[in-house]
């Protein structure tokens, strides 16, 4: 059953990716990319990585969709047809994919007890979280206490990015309103 679920989810993922490539209507592309990240989140859930899945859904289906829509407000609704076929983007994508697959070759297999993630400090985290923090969720304990400064840095980065994007989009919107008022 698990194999069937994984196969169906991957099938839908590939179909969605091909549909994104073929579509010219940009809003449909935005909606399909949201569906793509929801499918990724479902695959993460089947791998028991619920936290990663939740981040993927919040960032991919939530924030990215809104940001892409905000970008679409500044550009056209439809993609222009390319004049001629250029092989460079295809080559870049294939090369990047090949490098990524090459990188997974010497990774430990899924759920292996000998993988570096299991042998390093994870065992200590699992042992000490109930006495140190007294909460049942080890991931939360690692993120907010054992690696608290790391998480603080990430929050600063995300906050800076959000402020930058908001100032870009909000500033453009306000300028447009002013222009309209001048015209009126």
């Amino acid at each position: 059953m698990e194999l069937f679920i994984n196969l169906t989810l991957f099938f839908m993922l590939v179909v969605t990716a091909l549909a994104i490539l073929r579509m010219r209507h940009l809003f449909a592309v935005v909606a399909l990319s949201g569906v793509f990240s929801l499918l990724c989140a479902l695959l993460f859930v089947t791998l028991d990585a619920v936290d990663v899945a939740f981040t993927e859904a919040a960032v991919g289906a939530g924030i990215s969709t809104v940001l892409l829509l905000g970008t679409m407000a500044l550009t056209a609704r439809n993609e222009k047809m390319p004049r001629s076929f250029s092989p460079v983007p295809l080559l870049v994508v294939v090369a990047t994919g090949a490098v990524l697959i090459y990188g997974t070759l010497d990774m430990a297999s899924f759920g292996s007890a000998l993988s570096p993630a299991q042998t390093h400090v994870a065992a200590q985290y699992l042992e000490r979280t109930p006495t140190d923090m007294g909460i049942p969720n080890v991931v939360t304990a690692v993120l907010s206490s054992y690696r608290g400064f790391d998480t603080l840095g990430e929050v600063v980065v995300v906050f800076t990015a959000a402020v930058g994007v908001l100032s870009l989009i909000g500033g453009l919107g306000r300028r447009r309103y002013k222009k309209e008022e001048a015209q009126e």
């Binding site: 059953m1 698990e2 679920i5 169906t8 839908m12 179909v15 969605t16 549909a19 579509m23 809003f27 449909a28 909606a31 399909l32 949201g34 569906v35 929801l38 989140a41 479902l42 859930v45 089947t46 619920v50 899945a53 939740f54 859904a57 919040a58 289906a61 939530g62 969709t65 809104v66 829509l69 905000g70 407000a73 908001l166 989009i169 909000g170 919107g173 306000r174 309103y177 309209e180 008022e181 009126e184």
Partner: protein, 107 residues
Amino acid sequence: MFAVAAIALFIGMILVLIRLYAGPTLYDRVLAGNAFGTYTVLFIGNLGFLMGRPDFLDIALLYALINFVGTIAILKYFRYRAIGDTSPTPRGTPTANGKLKDQGYKS
């Protein structure tokens, strides 16, 4: 029984994907995206019971919230042409003669 439900959810997801790809109007696509989010919520709930560990049911609730907020953002974008700052007046709504707008700025 949960396996049958999972298969039914998959069929529904594929139908919604077809609607998202083919859908002639914009609102078909908005609705299809929202429906796919709902299918995700249902599938996460179903998967917990299928694997015998229904601990992740509360996470499905958070997906429902994201889905709702996302759909509101999309509809707001199509209504007001912007997402962040929608003051002073939305585009497309008739403003009487400009006086209304000025009052809004002063007060």
